[in-house]
Symmetry: C2
Subunit: 357 residues, 2 copies
Amino acid sequence: MECIVSLGQASSELLIASGCRQRLAQRLEGKRAVVISDRHLQDAWGASLFTDLPWLVVPPGEESKSVERVSSLWSQMVRLGLDRQSVVVALGGGVVGDLAGFVAATYLRGVAFYSLPTSLLAMVDASVGGKVGIDLPEGKNLAGQFYPAHTVAVDPELLDTLPAKEFSQGMAEVIKHAILQGEPLWSLVRSFQPTHANDPEALCRLVTEAVLVKVEVVRQDPYEKTGLRAQLNLGHTYGHAIEWCADYSLGHGEAVALGLIADLRLSRALGTLEVDFEKDMLELLERWSLPTTLPTPLERFDWDRVAAALGRDKKNKDGQWCFVLPVRPGKVLTVNGPSVDLVRHAFSSLRPHGVLS
Amino acid sequence: MECIVSLGQASSELLIASGCRQRLAQRLEGKRAVVISDRHLQDAWGASLFTDLPWLVVPPGEESKSVERVSSLWSQMVRLGLDRQSVVVALGGGVVGDLAGFVAATYLRGVAFYSLPTSLLAMVDASVGGKVGIDLPEGKNLAGQFYPAHTVAVDPELLDTLPAKEFSQGMAEVIKHAILQGEPLWSLVRSFQPTHANDPEALCRLVTEAVLVKVEVVRQDPYEKTGLRAQLNLGHTYGHAIEWCADYSLGHGEAVALGLIADLRLSRALGTLEVDFEKDMLELLERWSLPTTLPTPLERFDWDRVAAALGRDKKNKDGQWCFVLPVRPGKVLTVNGPSVDLVRHAFSSLRPHGVLS
């Protein structure tokens, strides 16, 4: 399928189809362009895709989302003679997309950006909606821009080379989207088994429905002004704090999985959970080998550290913690400044034995 | 006066009035904000302006437009606890405005930016139109964004502490604007004598008319798409090359002054100069102690270096040099790919004895 995702005044073209990477490649023929990717992806796809273009390859992993890497990419692009009419193509997961998008947004005050996500997480979440950025020593994604891609091509065939563990990370975001949307995605996700990941048709359907949740939210609230887009933060307030406390040794999806559980329990404690779907959610997370308790060593998750990390969240307003909490599949609620005791208690329930730290 | 300058879908409020810095300061009362400025300006204004706000002070000079400085400012802002509702105020000339604007554009994906230009150059040119950015080792302004300020407050009283030499740098851009517009600015500039710089009313009138030239161009072509905004590059293709060859030891206005002369002579050589106003222009530049010949040592301006520098200009398209050339006061012409011999000859005319290098 194809659609146009508007992001305020700008808009992205969104292609979702098996094999659509080749259509993107055809469109770039005769254009001055550069591919930003990582080493693993170059090994996997470099021989068959964008063979006529220069590739700028960064090390895999979050460390590449640094200002030093941005600076180096800018300089390499100058040396390649890329001008304002040039195109930056991101071939990669969330890290490559965020990094390449930021470079595209800022090189010569902005050049066209084409995004070709290669991870499930990037396909259903990061590649849509124009958020690009890098990390600072003080925290993740603290520098960036809203810079919608000219074209996002979601090609599920690119998932063929994705490790199973990475696929699971993406499923955490798919499950989050299902909680946000309710039907039809909630049922679709519950019927989607790990064996279906190898069924191109089932996979394409799941990816399409999951992307469309994000598309609809972004369409209605492109710049996170009305609170709707902030709902995508479900599972992420706790999730970001967990990532930070674990020094980013957990995958993003793993942290979000834990965050979803804590959010549901916080909602229950606040009396805002109308339908208690914890059992269904835990079953889903376990199906995809996502964690349901904090990983050892637990000292990393001492409450003082967690509280400090929660205090750094970009969505906080006026110093109050802000949580998006589930009400039932298909409905969430944004809560500013819930009681610290309840926030702490919900977090502590993630400890393997539920012991308060 | 007050007006709204639209920059595509965004728009800036523009205040031009003696003393309007205080109005800006009042608006910031009760807001979380940070002032980015330089040491000289902090000495001059820190005791009377924005006394309740934190100041982040950078060294004066182009060297501060670096990625390292941006990175340091981002981190300091995180440590100050600035959130998405915070405001970045630039108090300074072009360097501070470009740097602070880029920081505002990218901190937490963009926070509100208030610009209070303190140099004539920044008042009539840099502060209007949303161009923000930093330099790379490979060249100036190669990384940046279009990020219009929420409010630009042009307060000519801030020029009181501007050294005369810096005022002259700004007059080069005023003269450029006068050539672009013709009347009324061309006559106004010709009647404006150095003694008038101390006459608040005359100064405010000149600044207002000069700013409005930029405003009108930006309004019509915010993102440099139609070629109109690119006309502001008059004097700048040669000018940027001269700056680069001199390793930025010349002021921007001095380089633009030389660029204006070379552009006029190139236009004459191409037969596109309808009204030969060289004598008037030279008289104007000399009135403001701006150079009319290249400064020694001349080896810096060997043709090979100049040609290489011309080749780096961001406005070049498809490898062809692009020049904006005067036709008469009030009319310019964009020329792509003029003969290298003529370009070289016009440049060489800037040598003190007009000797071809």
